[in-house]
Symmetry: C2
């Protein structure tokens, strides 16, 4: 549906070793994608939806925003690698990439360094 960014290769937990500049830039992109209430709710709606996927029509109804605005936010999430979209007939369905969330989660707490994917 659109360009796939590589899944985060980053990092040992924040509190273990200082982040390199490159790692920080990489991570910041992901956090920036989540740094908006609408995008967080989109992510949550998709992730918690039955079957692990939701169509744009479902998502649009949940907000008091125009279609293009929702579409813009979905694009940001897509380009950050957090979700993917797939057209099936009339509708486009989105689902999250749980590994990306898991890696992000692991960076935040002290614990084992991330093993290579």
């Amino acid at each position: 549906m659109s360009k796939q960014l590589p899944v985060v290769q980053c990092c040992s937990p924040l509190a273990r070793d200082p982040l390199s500049e490159v790692q920080a830039v990489e991570l910041a992109k992901l956090f920036k994608a989540m740094a908006d209430p609408v995008r967080l709710r989109l992510l949550s709606l998709i992730a918690s939806h039955a079957g692990g996927e939701a169509c744009v029509c479902d998502l649009t109804d949940a907000f008091d925003l125009t279609g293009p605005t929702i579409s813009h936010h979905l694009k940001v999430l897509r380009e950050s690698g957090l979700i993917t979209g797939e057209r099936r007939g009339t509708w486009v369905y989105y689902r999250v990439h749980p590994e990306v969330l898991a890696r992000l989660s692991a960076v935040l707490v002290p614990g084992d360094a991330i093993v290579p994917a």
Copy 2:
């Protein structure tokens, strides 16, 4: 040193239940605070520093940025509740609030809902 925001009360994991608007706004503030490479490195430098704290002088040296800019980023992190600063004599020392990171981490992965603080 400055106003303390309440530690995030938020939430069940993203993928369990759809985030409410209020929860999303709350969480987005935290993610926004981390959505910058400089702030992520600051956070990591502080968290990984010996003794769990670092003074501003250490932090400033690690970047090619002016003092006021670093101070600005520290303020953003402070006001988000991720760190606290304390003046001891000449220097100001910062340390992270690990609980906030832990809660944030827990929101990202499927698992148990957060128990009240």
